[in-house]
């Protein structure tokens, strides 16, 4: 049994080894011309505007959590849309996603009525 996993071990060693090798080669042969822009922490192209350890409004966390919840729920639409035309019978597929949406909307209405989305 364990020997079945030998290729995975080889792959693991090779990928780690290759990564280290590339770093060593870059260190040995690459020219090092540090500029201010190059030494900046990478923030997806944005200029850093301060320290990461800042105080954030606590309301942000609730909004962020709600965003994640609904984001994940909407992700379910993609696999459904991909296979929708191949469902048999097709109305069951439609009924299932509509039912799912009713549940999501109930959750949304709940948040709205509870005032979870009010910022002030």
């Amino acid at each position: 049994m364990p020997q079945d996993f030998l290729p995975i071990l080889v792959l693991f060693i090779m990928s780690v080894g290759l990564g280290i090798l590339v770093l060593i080669i870059a260190r040995l042969f690459g020219p090092r011309v540090p500029t201010r822009a190059k030494m900046m922490p990478y923030e997806s192209g944005m200029r850093p505007i301060g320290q990461a350890m800042r105080r954030l409004p606590i309301r942000y966390y609730l909004t962020a959590t709600l965003f994640i919840v609904f984001d994940i729920e909407i992700v379910f639409l993609y696999p459904w849309a991909v296979v929708y035309k191949r469902m048999n019978p097709i109305w069951v597929g439609l009924a299932e996603i509509l039912f799912f949406f009713v549940l999501v909307i109930i959750g949304y209405v709940y948040l709205l009525r509870k005032g979870a989305l009010e910022w002030e």
Binding site: M1, R86, M87, N88, P89, G93, L103, I106, Y110, R113
Partner: protein, 492 residues
């Protein structure tokens, strides 16, 4: 072409479905139907839904007189075992709701979400009993656990409650990891997650099965995950802290409903999927049963807080129920289910008295507060005494009959030594159950005794119901036991 399973029979999940819909209706009723000052009315919506679920379960009971019916592509199973569990869970939940109605107001934590979460949690537990596949089992396991994590932390600015929620969440997530890893291992070893498919695989490969280490590891990890939920020693460390910190109504729910669902899942997995490996798991579980009974009862002796005491008592009772599973045989399921019912009634009763004694925000949980209770609240004192005698196992109460069925089963199936350990452990348990009785009847009340509530309202109703149940289940045990017996598992 993606075809849907042709056996889309919603029967097995119908009670759970009714409960989920009720949970959503409670939420919506709170939003649109009731004003803030009428919010307590949501409990009646929840109870109404439970009555509908009860009727649905009774209706299904008549339909499955024959063998079990698998449905939804073999993911769920409809048999009397699942329905019997549903009945226990509905009863427990209804009593917990009666307990909570006034308790939540007094603790200033009343929100309709409480009932919604309880209902969602129960729906997961019901699905657990109706599982015919490890994946269904896993999803229902998570459904009820996640709702319970929130419920444990429900008394939110109270630090103890937050601590309880956090501890339960971390350790619960950890145990869920063990459980899922066990499922993965089992799937790797057998190539299926269907409970009956696993049994068929083991039967077909009986000659080489003892060399299949992955299967044994998987079984062991599943036992760890479920052992955590039902609080077997040595997976019990979370229990006292969580039971003490959580709001008492939630503790009552966790101590009874979770245990019922956890043992139902254990019975399903062990008797449906791994019956041929009983030689392996019965030895392990016998050891765990001894540890659990002795550990729970001995540590309970040193407790001075009634919620912690009941937490260790719930651990000890998990040990007794485990004896039934170890002993196996045709009657193991009915003996275990009967004991779960009896235990649920007794424990709910004890918690009901604790809740009824609450006055205002302060909870009456210290042993000293119970001294001389007979002069102040005679009715509740007698009730608590009955529950303590029943938990110890005095005839003719429910606890005695339950223990008698289990120990009898153990002796007949060659586990006499386990029955002896169980009996000795029950003797130890008298040391703390009866200590409370001694305090209540024979000690004077302290001068600085706290204000007490009384047995009025719905909490009083809950005390009365559990009291009647505890006594009746002891005296008229055989009809209920026969009912449990007809709830035998499908595969046996």
């Amino acid at each position: 072409m993606i075809t849907f399973p042709s056996d889309l029979n919603l029967g097995p999940i119908a009670p759970a479905l009714v409960v989920v819909v009720t949970g959503i209706l409670v939420m919506l009723a709170d939003l649109f139907l009731f004003r803030a000052e009428d919010r307590h009315n949501t409990v009646w919506v929840a109870l109404g839904g439970l009555i509908v679920a009860f009727l649905v379960t009774l209706g299904l009971w008549g339909q499955v007189s024959g063998g079990p019916i698998t449905a939804i592509g073999g993911l769920a199973i409809l048999d009397r075992f699942a329905l019997f569990l549903d009945l226990i869970l509905i009863l427990v939940t209804a009593i917990v709701m009666l307990l909570s109605a006034e308790y939540l107001v007094e603790q200033n934590i009343e929100h309709a979400e409480f009932y919604t979460l309880i209902l969602f949690s129960v729906s997961g537990m019901m699905l657990m009993g109706a599982s015919a596949d490890l994946m269904t089992l896993w999803v229902s396991f998570e459904t009820f656990s996640i709702a319970l994590y929130v419920l444990a932390a429900y008394a939110r600015p109270k630090v103890e409650s937050e601590e309880a929620g956090l501890k339960y969440f971390f350790l619960g997530a950890f145990s869920a990891g063990f459980f899922l890893y066990g499922i993965a291992m089992t799937y790797g070893a057998t190539g299926t997650t269907r409970l009956m498919g696993i049994a068929q695989f083991i039967q077909a490969n009986a000659a080489t099965i003892s060399a299949n280490n992955m299967l044994y590891v998987g079984l062991g990890l599943i036992l760890v995950g479920l052992g955590f939920k039902v609080a077997l020693v040595p997976f019990h460390q979370w229990t006292p802290d969580v039971y003490e910190g959580a709001p008492t109504a939630v503790t009552a729910f966790m101590a009874t409903a979770t245990k019922a669902a956890g043992f139902a899942a254990l019975l399903r997995v062990l008797f449906l999927a791994f019956p041929q490996l009983s030689g392996a798991w019965s030895t392990i579980l016998a050891l765990l049963a001894v540890l659990t009974m002795i550990g729970g009862n001995v540590i309970a002796l040193s407790q001075r807080n009634i919620k912690r005491m009941l937490a260790y008592s719930s651990i000890a009772h998990a040990g007794y129920i485990l004896i039934a599973i170890v002993a196996g045989g045709a009657q193991a399921v009915s003996a275990a289910m009967f004991y779960i019912l009896a235990y649920a009634l007794m424990t709910l009763g004890a918690f009901a008295v604790v809740i009824a004694l609450n006055r205002g925000g302060a909870e009456v949980v210290n042993f000293e507060d119970y001294a001389g209770l007979i002069q102040r609240r005679p009715g509740l004192t007698h009730a608590l005494a009955v529950f303590m005698f029943a938990l110890t196992g005095f005839p003719p109460l429910a606890g005695f009959v339950g223990k008698w069925y289990i120990f009898d089963l153990a002796v007949r199936n060659g586990w006499a030594w386990l029955a002896v350990v169980g009996t000795l452990a029950s003797v130890i348990s008298a040391g703390y159950y009866l200590y409370i009785v001694v305090l209540m009847y024979m000690r004077p009340a302290p001068d600085n005794a706290p204000d007490l509530g009384g047995a009025q309202g719905t909490a009083g109703l809950a005390v009365a119901l559990t009291l009647i149940g505890t006594v009746l289940l002891g005296i008229f045990a055989s009809p209920i036991f026969n009912l449990a017996q007809s709830a035998l598992l499908a595969a046996r």
